[in-house]
Symmetry: C2
Subunit: 458 residues, 2 copies
């Protein structure tokens, strides 16, 4: 009798199951799922179920039959993977893209003067929105951004529907949004209050660098960040003169110096980290900081190659970044994949290091870890945020496809991204951005660039 | 009276001119012309007139009124430049793209065995056609290719309508198309006879490398190339063991060794040239050889960075190449531009070297010079062959556009190419290839790759 009861219960469950599929918001079927979960599971004909901005379930395409949703996308064999995470950029600098390339001492000769002259609320809003359009088109779903008027970047991110860890810049000089040195601290504090608890925005402090923010203000920023419970974004160990000056003044490496001030904590996302020693790396690991590796920017400026192979292998929290479009010059993480894989091989004189699978991990889970958001981002797993992208498997360079990681790193391009979904919302579908009028933003960009161009070329 | 006569004649000429514009085949107006001529002239609103496969005239858009043609394209502000020249590839290896990445000793462990097992006429025809589709999509109008069954590559090039300097491979071992060692020489001789005088194809000998073709056979090949008046394509100074073995055996560099055999002549297009000394470079210059610089391939294999800055500055004939898609892994010259600019800066520890304008020159006029075809290719100038490409100026990363060379090198992508014209023929227009059925070729590629995959993964 117990057996018969069990059978009846089982049949009843089956019937119920067939009769009442679980409601969801969006179902995607027949996708090649690149999960980036711990076991790097690949599901060649897979489905993913999205509800309330999260991943509800994923598995073989047959899974879709158990769910119902107002919208189902048949991916028809296209590649579906976690959205790329751009761990370091200055998106608004699209307005300056291509100015002052191939010249020495850009920061002091071009970037700071241009910023003082032109950067205002309008430039930051439209410039960062244009940058976010490029990122969404290139499969980036989250960015860590540092700039001035960062509240305008936040408004742009809300408009397009992109996730951002947004740091308001602080430095020891007047800035476009702060007349007094270190005025950014107060600006940041207000910005953080205005945008805390936003579902897409994580506001943050962005002290520019150890050579532009003094020890006293670094400590103040750390204290305020602790109080407000927000991240700190900073350029670290990027400049040769930063290394020599800190050595001269404190007899420390930049990493040791920051540690001595109490800045090396899990709040810190340190961009670049080109000039770090093995013992620095051990310290960075012990303090659990995040690292943004910006290969294209670092080599275009001839600064050098960060020891990302060691940092990755030593299991630091390391993701990939594009840097700003005046340095990079794009916001294209997919293009960055190939650079990281190839230039690390060159720098390490070993064609086996930084294999493709590790590079894809850095662009997804690595970025999530660098942001200390690996519980919510970076892989296709139930309960994570539904930040994901679909890539065209029919693209010319994607055929043939023997190894998906090799294809993504050595052959895919940003334009192969067809659809970008952020927090369950389709922000781009079949290359059409749904949330902003691109032509309008592009017109604004052209007007701004004509104004800049007229001044610069005089 | 003479004055009146002269006036009448003048008015008559004006009338005739107005009444009878010069006939042409194709007119393109309102293009941003990047001429790459000696003075690097830019014509922001320009027209180009094409007749009988050649450039008849170019200038401001008003020029178009003096010509008539069955077809006029309004470029509407798009960028029009000479077609990219890919000076080194093995296009058919698209069938193996993504196999054996990130592993040591690929040539002996993967490439040669795969080729012995799979390469036949069918693989070469479809594989090279797929590669040429990618190149046309990426704005490459001329390629220098080395492979087996090179007559099949030639047939593919005729089919799609692409220009090729095509070298039949010769080496000291049985090859897919030659049972006996050095059987490639006879194969090449026949291939050269079959395709000489073809408007698109320049057949050539391709001795594989100094370490796979002995001195005796290199001399035989040079003699036959002189007799048949054809180029020689060869891998040179690419492998560390090539350098050490030739040093041990002959106490020479690879370049000195080839010179001692009489191989360093204007017929030679030497691919890679990573391991060349300053005195080698002087010798290469004196002998007027061409060089193919393959940055992405060379660094992905961790071999090193060829001294292309010095070779370019010393005015050698140096162009850019992708290498084969099992090495590169794409056939994308536009992506290569950024690598060359950035990695040379890194290698030379100087952010000023290899400025964008020089990189664009290498991809166009430099390639033409490397092929000794600079009288016909590489720039937009009257009487040159009409090999040109149109790029989308509305692409996201192309806005703003302050400096066209910077934009092309640091921001443009292959997908920004809208239209590719080779010898006056529109091979691709608005991303649609006009001459071959892409889906059919892609299906063949997938069938071939499934066959290969089933064997490799066993």
């Amino acid at each position: 009798m117990p057996n018969k009861l069990a059978l009846a219960a089982f049949l009843c469950a089956l019937t119920l199951h067939a009769a009442a599929p679980t409601p969801a918001d969006l179902i995607i079927t027949h996708a090649y799922l690149v999960t980036m979960n711990t076991s790097k599971e690949l599901i060649p004909d897979g489905a993913i179920i999205i509800k309330s901005g999260h991943i509800l379930a994923l598995g073989p395409s047959a899974l879709a039959a158990s769910y119902t949703a107002p919208r189902t996308i048949d991916a028809a064999g296209d590649i579906l993977m976690p959205g790329m995470i751009n761990t370091h950029t200055h998106a608004a600098m699209t307005v300056f893209r291509g100015l002052g390339d191939d010249v020495p001492d850009r920061l002091q000769r071009f970037i700071f003067p241009l910023e003082h002259k032109f950067v205002d609320r309008e430039v930051v809003y439209w410039g960062s929105l244009w940058g976010m359009i490029e990122m969404v088109q290139g499969g980036v779903t989250t960015m860590a951004d540092m700039y001035y008027f960062e509240d305008e970047v936040a408004r742009g991110a809300q408009k397009i529907g992109m996730r951002g860890i947004l740091g308001e810049t602080v430095l020891n000089a007047p800035a476009p949004d702060a007349k007094e040195p270190y005025g950014g601290i107060a600006y940041a504090a207000k910005f953080i209050q205005d945008f805390q608890n936003d579902p897409l925005i994580t506001p943050a402090f962005a002290p520019h660098a150890p050579y532009t923010v003094d020890a006293e203000h670094l400590k103040i920023i750390q204290h305020q960040a602790d109080t407000l419970n927000v991240p700190i974004l900073m350029h670290v160990a990027e400049m040769p003169y930063e290394v020599t000056d800190i050595r001269k003044q404190y007899d420390k490496t930049p990493i040791e110096y920051l540690d001595s001030l109490g800045l090396l904590t899990k709040r810190l996302l340190a961009a670049h980290c080109i000039f770090v020693t093995d013992s620095d790396i051990a310290l960075m690991k012990a303090r659990d900081i995040g690292v943004a590796h910006n290969m294209e920017s670092n080599i275009k400026s001839a600064k050098g190659v960060a020891p990302a192979v060691k940092m990755f292998n030593d299991r630091l929290r390391i993701g990939l970044g594009t840097d700003g479009p005046m340095s990079g010059n794009t916001l294209d993480i997919i293009n960055q994949l190939g650079y990281v894989a190839k230039v690390q091989k060159l720098a390490n004189k070993d064609r086996n290091v930084m294999p493709a699978i590790n590079v894809v991990e850095m662009a997804t889970m690595g970025g999530a870890r660098a942001l200390h958001m690996e519980d919510r981002l970076g892989s296709l797993e139930p309960n994570k945020l539904a930040d994901l992208v679909i890539l065209d498997h029919n693209a010319t360079t994607m055929t043939p496809l023997y190894d998906i990681y090799s294809t993504l790193v050595y052959a895919a391009t940003a334009q192969n991204v067809r659809t970008t979904i952020i927090q369950g919302r389709i922000v781009m579908e079949d290359r059409v951005i749904k949330t902003v009028d691109i032509a309008k933003v592009q017109n604004h960009m052209r007007e701004l660039s004509q104004k800049i161009s007229a001044t610069v070329t005089k």
